[in-house]
């Protein structure tokens, strides 16, 4: 670094000296030019002035005057010689050093004597090499050339180191050095902040460099510029890196923002109420579902105490209780209702704890899940199990009791005995049907139902179904009208399951038709379909019940229906069996007028004549 600085100083000194030399040379040239110009003016003037006089003046009385005047000029104004020639070129007057004439080249004199106008010639004296400017002008009298005046001026030699010039140069050198010192000091001062900036730049890309002005290198401007260039390169690299990082961060921010929106949207679209609190139990988030449930605006709940927002003593007590028990590991829940806000609906309120990165609890998450349908289904299931138990145990009780009477010989009347045996048989059949229905519905639900398909003669199916229900129908004095076609189409299916399906329809018709009623059971063929129709004059089905009669466990609330035993499985099972056979079932009904069930099943191309 020092070598560079020394070289710079030497270079500056050389430049300074060259500058001084050029300046001195310029001064000399300028002075020479000025002198030459001065001589030119003076020569022109003097020669013209002298040439104005008649030639005789230089030979007559005035000769001395001219001699004296010109002699003064020679001594003080650089005039070396003065020759005045007559018309023939003979010298009339010669004021010159004694040896000068012989040193003037002949062609110079000749040209001066024969030219009719003012001439100015520069030449070097022979032998001495002095540079002389000669001015010559002819003297005219009455239009005739009467003579020639020649004046020779010596071009003075100019010394570089004249006292005046040395003084001037010394002053100038002083001012130049002072200026240089001043400029140097100024530049140093000006560079100082630049160096600091450079150092700061460096500290930006070299993290280990301490940010201190003490270590700022005191280099020259080249070094500073070089450093600055390096700094700029490094800064560009740093900028590129930062820009790349910025792009990366922007992308990450975008991803985070997207994910945040996603989480928010999930919370918003979730079909539960979600309420989040901070560590002070103030609400920090509540999704739209929860806001709708509580009928509140977001601004009314955020940062408000949980207890105030909920206004639900049961849930508040639950939260406090859970907190007291410190059950932070597992979520716990209660069932709660909001009679004024959501009448008839049941919510499962779950509490879990919101944890930070280090596992510390930073709030609570309370979710509100509407479990009304689950509770309804649970209740329906419970009712179903109760019903089924009742339905199973009732025929068992009958069989058991009747059997007990028979075994105890308490029934000695033959007719009564027959009635008892029939009842036991009927109840056994009832029990069997119920168990089969349960098994079938269970298999259908599990998707494990296997159809034992074969050719089914529709008239046999028809007769089997009638036989099953006609005993009950007779007891109720219900007439069953049979409508049969001339030819009986065949079916391809599971005969036992098809019997279950049709008997469920027929059995319901008998069950829900009052005494002395009428049932029409029709078998027909329509295109490629075998159609069974059951039309009864029973209680009919209400408009409210009609869309649900094929739902599992569904039972009408009509007292005429509820007073009959039933599991709510029959029609659901029928619908599934018909569906499994590629058929369809439809029903039309009017309350108090009766119902009309139609079962359509694909037929097989196999006919039997009417038996």
């Amino acid at each position: 670094m020092k070598m560079k600085t020394q070289r710079l100083y030497i270079a500056l000194a050389v430049v300074f000296l060259i500058g001084i030399a050029i300046f001195a040379q310029t001064l000399i040239l300028h002075e020479k030019r000025a002198k030459r110009h001065d001589i030119l003016n003076k020569g022109n003037y003097l020669v013209s002035l002298i040439a104005l006089h008649p030639i005789d003046d230089f030979a007559g009385e005035k000769r001395n005057f001219f001699v004296k005047t010109i002699a003064e000029q020679i001594s003080s104004e650089g005039l070396i010689y003065c020759f005045i020639h007559d018309q023939a070129g003979n010298p009339l007057l010669a004021l010159a050093p004694h040896d000068i004439e012989g040193k003037i080249p002949q062609d110079i004199q000749r040209r001066a004597l024969y030219v009719d106008g003012l001439t100015q010639q520069t030449f070097k004296t022979i032998g001495a090499n002095n540079v002389i400017n000669e001015f010559a002008k002819p003297i005219f009298e009455n239009g005739q050339k009467s003579g020639t005046v020649r004046l020779g001026f010596n071009l003075p030699s100019i010394s570089l180191f004249t006292p005046q010039r040395v003084k001037l140069m010394a002053i100038m050198a002083f001012f130049a050095i002072a200026m240089a010192a001043f400029v140097y000091y100024g530049v140093t001062l000006a560079l100082q902040p630049l160096r600091e900036v450079n150092q700061n730049f460096k500290s930006m890309y070299v993290d280990s460099t301490p940010l201190s002005t003490d270590s700022v290198p005191n280099g020259g401007i080249n070094e500073v510029i070089k450093d600055l260039e390096q700094s700029v390169v490094k800064l560009r690299e740093k900028y590129s890196k930062i820009r790349a990082e910025n792009v990366d961060l922007t992308t990450k921010c975008g991803v985070i923002s997207f994910e945040k929106n996603n989480v928010f949207n999930i919370l918003e679209s979730i079909n539960h109420g979600i309420l989040v609190t901070d560590i002070q139990d103030n609400v920090s988030h509540m999704n739209s579902y929860m806001l709708n449930l509580l009928d509140k605006n977001r601004d009314d709940v955020i940062d408000h105490p949980l207890a105030d927002v909920l206004g639900h003593d049961q849930i508040t007590a639950f939260v406090l209780q859970q907190e007291a028990l410190k059950q932070s590991k597992n979520a716990s829940y209660i069932e709660a209702t909001f009679p004024e806000l959501a009448a008839g609906e049941i919510f499962q309120v779950s509490l879990s704890y919101l944890k930070g990165k280090e596992g510390a609890i930073i709030g609570k998450v309370i979710s509100f899940k509407n479990i009304t349908s689950e509770k309804t289904a649970e209740r329906a299931k419970h009712e179903f199990v109760t019903n089924i138990t009742h339905e199973l145990l009732t025929p068992l009780t009958t069989i058991n009791s009747y059997n007990e009477m028979l075994m105890d010989d308490e029934v000695d009347n033959k007719e009564l005995q027959k009635e008892f045996y029939n009842t036991i048989s009927e109840e056994t059949g009832r029990l069997t049907r119920l168990v089969k229905n349960l098994l079938n519905i269970s298999q259908i639900e599990m998707g494990s139902m296997t159809l034992n398909k074969g050719l089914v003669k529709s008239d046999w199916l028809f007769d089997d179904c009638i036989t099953t229900v006609e005993g009950t129908a007779q007891k109720k004095k219900i007439t069953i009208e049979r409508n049969l076609p001339d030819n009986f189409p065949s079916l391809f299916g599971d005969k036992e399951l098809l019997k279950v399906a049709i008997i469920n329809i027929l059995g319901n018709a008998v069950k829900y038709t009052p005494e002395d009623g009428h049932i029409r059971f029709t078998l027909s063929e329509q295109d490629d379909l075998v159609v069974f129709e059951v039309i009864d004059s029973g209680y009919g089905i209400s408009k409210e019940d009609l869309p649900h009669i094929f739902d599992k466990f569904y039972r009408s609330t009509d007292s005429r229906i509820t007073e009959q035993t039933g599991s709510g499985l029959g029609l659901a099972l029928t619908s599934e069996i018909i569906r499994l056979h590629g058929g369809e079932i439809e029903v039309t009904s009017e309350p108090d007028e009766g119902s009309h069930f139609v079962i359509r099943l694909p037929k097989e191309e196999y006919y039997l004549g009417k038996q």
Binding site: T386, N387, T389, H390, L393, T394, L396, T397, T398, I399, N400, S401, Y402, E404, M405, E410, V411, L416, T423, E427, S559, T562, E563, Q564, T565
Partner: protein
């Protein structure tokens, strides 16, 4: 065999009504039957039976409501209520404990067990 006790059988199941009726008539009881809870409650008021045998699941008025209402009459005259049920759960035990002279009999029961229950009540 003559017995002055009056028995009311309430059940929507005809076969159960029928077999209990026959059994108790053979034992000399005066037996009346009803097909639903509403009809049964009317007969309790009018006939003031000594024994009421009732099912739980019945149309119009279920057995539990019937028992609760019948319990009010027991201040006027005491009678035994036998409730035929499928399952005696702790909830039902708790419920029946609040009623006067009311007992459960679980299905499927034997007719002799009902008779035994009645005999115990009347201190035979």
């Amino acid at each position: 065999m003559e017995n002055n006790k009056r028995v009311l059988v309430i059940d929507d199941e005809v076969h159960i009504r029928r077999v209990i009726e026959l059994k108790f008539k053979n034992q000399g009881y005066h037996v009346t039957t009803a097909t639903n809870g509403e009809e049964g409650l009317d007969l309790i008021k009018t006939q003031k039976p000594d024994v009421v045998i009732t099912d739980i699941m019945m149309p119009k008025l279920d057995g539990k409501t019937l028992c609760e209402r019948a319990n009010e009459f027991k201040k006027e005259w005491p009678f035994l209520t036998i409730v035929m049920t499928c399952r005696i759960s702790p909830t039902e035990q708790e419920w029946i404990g609040k009623l006067e002279d009311t007992v459960f009999i679980e299905k499927p029961f034997s007719l002799s067990s009902i008779l035994k229950c009645i005999d115990q009540y009347f201190g035979k």
